[in-house]
Symmetry: C2
Subunit: 193 residues, 2 copies
Amino acid sequence: MAATSPTKQQLLQQGMALLLKNGYNYLGLTEILESTGIPKGSFYHHFRNKEDFGLQAIDLYMTGVHAALDACLDDRTLPPLRRVRRFFELVQDSYQGEGYLGCLLGGLGQELSGVSDAFRQKVEECMSAIAGRLATCLDEAVQAGDLPAGTNPQAHAELLVNCWEGAALRSRLRRDPNPLGQMLDFYFRQASA
Amino acid sequence: MAATSPTKQQLLQQGMALLLKNGYNYLGLTEILESTGIPKGSFYHHFRNKEDFGLQAIDLYMTGVHAALDACLDDRTLPPLRRVRRFFELVQDSYQGEGYLGCLLGGLGQELSGVSDAFRQKVEECMSAIAGRLATCLDEAVQAGDLPAGTNPQAHAELLVNCWEGAALRSRLRRDPNPLGQMLDFYFRQASA
DNA sequence: GTTCATAGACCGACCGGTCTACTCGCGGCG
DNA sequence: CGCCGCGAGTAGACCGGTCGGTCTATGAAC
């Protein structure tokens, strides 16, 4: 996993961005190659095929997500519920930087889950992992009394992730962040009541 | 609009199902043609090109959605808030019949909104139309006192649609209806409180 | 010299789209 | 009534271009 060659890293970095904008099937290898100036031989030296490449691009995407989770959920200066919200707000900021193209997991999940079990399972695992980490923080929020006593943290975490993906899609369609903010407002107003 | 030829209708019907499963770019004309037994000449007689076909498949999808909206939102035997929920439950049933492949709007919206403005606008308009119809029903719910007095019906309707799309994606990934049901449970429990 | 990586020509398959030929049903008309 | 003309629709061969993927040759590092 560690110490990847710079060529491979560059392919994945660029590929991640192109996959987000163009989707998987629309994106051709030639576009990746031309935009990086890397020849085809190098590509197939580092990746078994296009699918392998796509799956590894998701891995790279997830390292960023986990970094954001680390930054927020471990921040002891904030109450647990605020940490969760802060994570989503951080992600929202990153969406802005990309022109509101939404979430790579949602994009590839929608496009490919009917056609490729590998991608379907991968995306599901990633979303499940995110929800899992949020759930432990929501559990702390229940302990702290910031969420009602009977709350199921795991279920709420899944709910948050799922609704977030929907809001991200709408924000992609409108090229506008409002759906994201309104979804967060609704959940955190209701949850704390 | 009325009295479409049966050939065209068959192409759209089959195309709608194939688009839901395979996505737009993965789906080739040949697959549509072979699965219907209709030759290419007929296809290009009825449609300008593949994009035109896809957009008209969305139109067909929307006639079904509007029919479900008609059936639920005009049902005076139910209180307005229950009508809205019933609509989503009806849609959920139809997802089950297709093997939980989710919503065509969400699928095509995610896949194509970075690449085709025509599809992006089309999907956005469709979602907006659905939310609009739900909003008037939610407004009745406010009037009836089933939603808090200060509630913004339009905002809630958009929220519902967006979160629904997210839950539909997750249900597609998991091939399982739970995300849909849990999302509805959360909204309607919170909203009525 | 061996290994990892770069380099890009090359391949068959398939893509969306065009083109021509043919069939069929119907209205007009002597 | 028979015949014709014509447009709508059917049929599929064919096209250039691009796709993902392979192959061989070369370059750089140790």
